[in-house]
């Protein structure tokens, strides 16, 4: 029994963090956030060079062939760096193709996804988090109609995996006729959300059924939880560093129990989330297709709990920084807002816990 990361996994995560420090330092994030026309192409190319764009693509198709635990570690590093990288599409599209795609579809897309030549996004918010503002996509006769909201990375994607209202999944080319995209400006400017409108858009169906949709949802939940884990850990680290440095009343503020206990509470809440995220990712990788009960439950709890703790850490770490915490200059707000988007993306904690209860038969039919 070994409940820990392998040396390779640690090395990959550290190496990605170093790459991000070069390719996407805070000034680069700030520039991306302030300019909607900035597509972050240089950061994307650095990620492709690193191999991240092929993290879940089999080696035979030019990828790294790694599992969700490795992807979650990458997600943690991206969250820690508030990096403008659309990881959900990177990880979920290959899962959709490998589990639900035909040989032709896999041959058409996997290698291009791995190399970074093609960007993908997944539009499943309506089926996971519920429909808002009348959104929802219907499929009929190979054509999609309707709207999909909150599609992370959906503005620039060359390939879309789209969920319809009856739980079916489809592949749509980014240049398909009848597809319109609009930017949905939001609080978190380190990632961009899109509204997709489908007007008789030609789509290729994916196999895999509801199990594939559940797998995409579970993987997304684990990745979002890991992103929040990384972002919250950075906020905690920054708060502790600040508390060791900032002096008031002739002492560093970290020597006051009022401040020290805030830091201890953040650490005590956040540390167990790390183990839960690891286990949820492990359960996803270990689960045989169709036996997803445990993996789904663990993914739900990882998402819900980490996002609850994330909110607590985001506000508390900001508070430890005093007035500086709310300034644009310090930039702590990029982490605060990233954690805020993660909380709602693909279902807030209440919604996700309700699904967790349903998975265990705790909701009356």
């Amino acid at each position: 029994m070994e409940f820990s990361l392998t040396p390779d996994q640690r090395m990959m995560q550290e190496s990605l963090s170093r790459t991000l420090a070069q390719a996407s330092p805070l000034e680069r994030v700030r520039a991306f956030a302030g300019d909607p026309s900035d597509t972050g192409g240089d950061v994307w190319r650095a990620m492709a060079e690193f191999g991240l764009t092929g993290i879940g693509v089999p080696e035979a198709s030019g990828g790294l062939g790694l599992g969700l635990l490795d992807a979650a570690l990458a997600s943690e590093a991206l969250g820690a760096a508030v990096a403008p990288v659309p990881l959900l599409g990177i990880v979920l599209a290959p899962i959709a193709l490998l589990r639900g795609g035909s040989a032709d579809q896999q041959a058409a897309w996997l290698a291009k996804l791995a190399s970074g030549e093609v960007q993908a996004a997944v539009a499943i918010s309506e089926t996971v988090a519920g429909a808002r503002d009348g959104a929802g996509v219907t499929a009929s006769g190979g054509k999609l109609n309707g709207k999909a909201l909150f599609v992370a990375g959906g503005l620039a994607a060359d390939l879309l995996v789209v969920g319809d209202v009856s739980g079916g999944l489809h592949l749509v080319a980014g240049d398909a006729a009848g597809l319109a995209r609009a930017f949905m400006p939001g609080l978190d400017e380190t990632r961009r959300l899109a509204e997709l409108t489908f007007d008789d858009v030609t789509a290729e169906p994916l196999g895999g059924g509801p199990e594939l949709l559940a797998a995409l949802r579970d993987a997304a939940w684990v990745l979002i939880a890991a992103d929040t884990l990384g972002a919250a850990q950075t906020m905690l680290d920054k708060a502790v560093a600040y508390a060791k440095e900032r002096r008031q009343f002739g002492r560093v503020i970290g020597s006051f129990q009022a401040v020290k206990h805030l830091c201890a509470e953040m650490a005590a809440e956040l540390e167990p989330c790390r183990s839960l995220v690891w286990y949820a990712a492990y359960a996803f990788d270990a689960a045989r297709p169709g036996v997803s009960g445990e993996a789904s439950l663990m993914a739900a709890h990882a998402k819900a709990l980490t996002c609850e703790v994330g909110r607590f850490v985001a506000r508390t770490a900001t508070e430890v920084h005093g007035g500086m915490g709310i300034t644009d200059l310090l930039g702590l707000h990029f982490w605060f807002k990233r954690i805020g988007l993660n909380r709602q993306l693909l279902g807030g904690p209440e919604r996700v816990r309700e699904i967790a209860a349903r998975l265990q038969g705790l909701v009356a039919a």
Binding site: F3, Q257, A264, R353, E354
Partner: protein
């Protein structure tokens, strides 16, 4: 990450299950009626006192964390009593093994393991709680003896104990932490008075112990005179592990889920109320997170790596979770939840209510939640200690 079980461990798990199956009568109640006989059986099979050398009355197996965990899991799954787990077994014995003299090990460990000697812990004093090292119960040298006077508080099982392991100030001129010795005191020594301390549960789970010219031999000191603070820290480490056990927390969560599935309001299951259900799911997520945190700690032990924050948070988080589980059970029961003592409507013999109150004591005892936060912040995060106040 690899949580699969080797064939060797699967075989061992099978052996434990077979043992429990063969002793179903004891599991069902016989063990509770004769705990000493059950304890003897467990030691004989290596399910208690597993790694304690045979010369001292244990089973003498090599330490194997995985096997210990398998035993714990199977006993919990079967609802089998784990044998005697009082403070003598869980705190004094490990301390003697680490720092006791050969004569002390031979004299005390065997009878303690077999349940023949029950111990109580004499640490806290009315004036020395969180600031334990300020304790004032003192021993004065008289020939080869010490003469002890003072008082201790929060001494669980003192009324039933034959012996106490106590922290006593033996070196009045030494610095605060260096004047304390760890002393073994027979409870029938003249001059000791035990008074039960009734708590909010209605029971007296603790006692006060008063010492008036209590005479013990100086050879009853463990680990050397003036070394008591360091000896005690060995045991406190064991206690903190005991107070945040995630297996016990998971068992309580499972009982809570069953409660909420079986209890009804207006004919509807409690768990079908979305607000109660959401609270249950929130706690389930937290219990799971602490369970996997425990697996991470176990791996760190196996590989001899420091566990860092994952270990420092266990007492704080575990005790708080236990309390919250009991709180939700009481809320789920509503007006039934405030019944107590006995009566036809009382659920689980009042266990949830008792836990709710007693667990508040565990949040405070064994290092308060606030002391735990100091430890997490100072040892885990490297924040500076509170400066000492200037002398008045």
């Amino acid at each position: 990450m690899d949580l699969s079980e080797t064939p060797q461990m699967a075989t061992f798990r099978g052996e434990v299950r077979a043992f429990l199956g063969a002793h179903a009568d004891d599991v069902a109640g016989g063990a509770a009626r004769d705990p000493k006989a059950w304890q003897g059986l467990l030691i004989g099979h290596g399910y208690a006192a597993r790694t304690i050398p045979r010369a001292y009355g244990g089973f003498g197996a090599e330490p194997d964390i995985l096997k210990s965990r398998i035993i714990a899991e199977e006993f919990i799954a079967a609802g089998a009593p784990r044998g005697i787990a009082n403070q003598g077994v869980s705190m004094l014995v490990p301390t003697l093994l680490e720092v006791g003299s050969e004569a002390q090990k031979m004299r005390w460990i065997g009878p303690t393991l077999r349940g023949e000697i029950v111990w109580c812990q004499g640490y806290s004093e009315p004036g020395a709680g969180s600031d334990l090292a300020s304790l004032q119960t003192k021993a004065v040298e008289d020939g080869t003896d010490f003469v002890i006077s003072g008082s201790k508080i929060w001494t669980s099982t003192a009324h039933a104990a034959q012996m106490m392991f106590a922290l006593i100030r033996t070196e009045p001129d030494a610095a605060k932490h260096e004047g304390i010795s760890y002393v073994l005191i027979p409870m029938d020594t003249p001059g000791i008075e035990v008074r039960p301390l009734k708590t909010m549960t209605g029971g007296a789970e603790f006692n006060e112990v008063f010492f008036t010219d209590v005479r013990v031999g100086q050879d009853q000191v463990v680990g050397g005179r003036g070394r008591g603070w360091f000896v005690a820290n060995t045991t406190l480490k064991h206690e903190r592990g005991m107070l945040g056990d995630p297996n016990a927390t998971e068992a309580r969560l499972n009982a809570l889920i069953e409660l909420m599935k079986s209890e009804t309001i207006d004919g509807q299951r409690v768990v079908d109320n979305p607000i109660f259900r959401d609270r249950l799911m929130d706690l389930q997520g937290r219990v799971l997170a602490m369970k996997f945190n425990g697996l991470r700690l176990l791996t760190a032990q196996l590989t001899h790596e420091p566990a860092g924050l994952a270990g420092l948070i266990v007492k704080l988080q575990g005790c708080e979770l236990n309390h919250q589980l009991a709180a939700l059970a009481i809320d789920a029961l509503g007006e039934l939840g405030v019944l107590y003592h006995d009566g036809p409507h009382l659920r689980a013999k009042g266990r949830w209510q008792w836990n709710y109150m007693f667990d508040l004591g565990l949040i405070i005892g064994g290092g308060t939640a606030q002391i735990q936060k100091n430890i997490i912040a100072e040892r885990g995060l490297g924040l500076p200690r509170e400066p000492k106040p200037a002398a008045a």
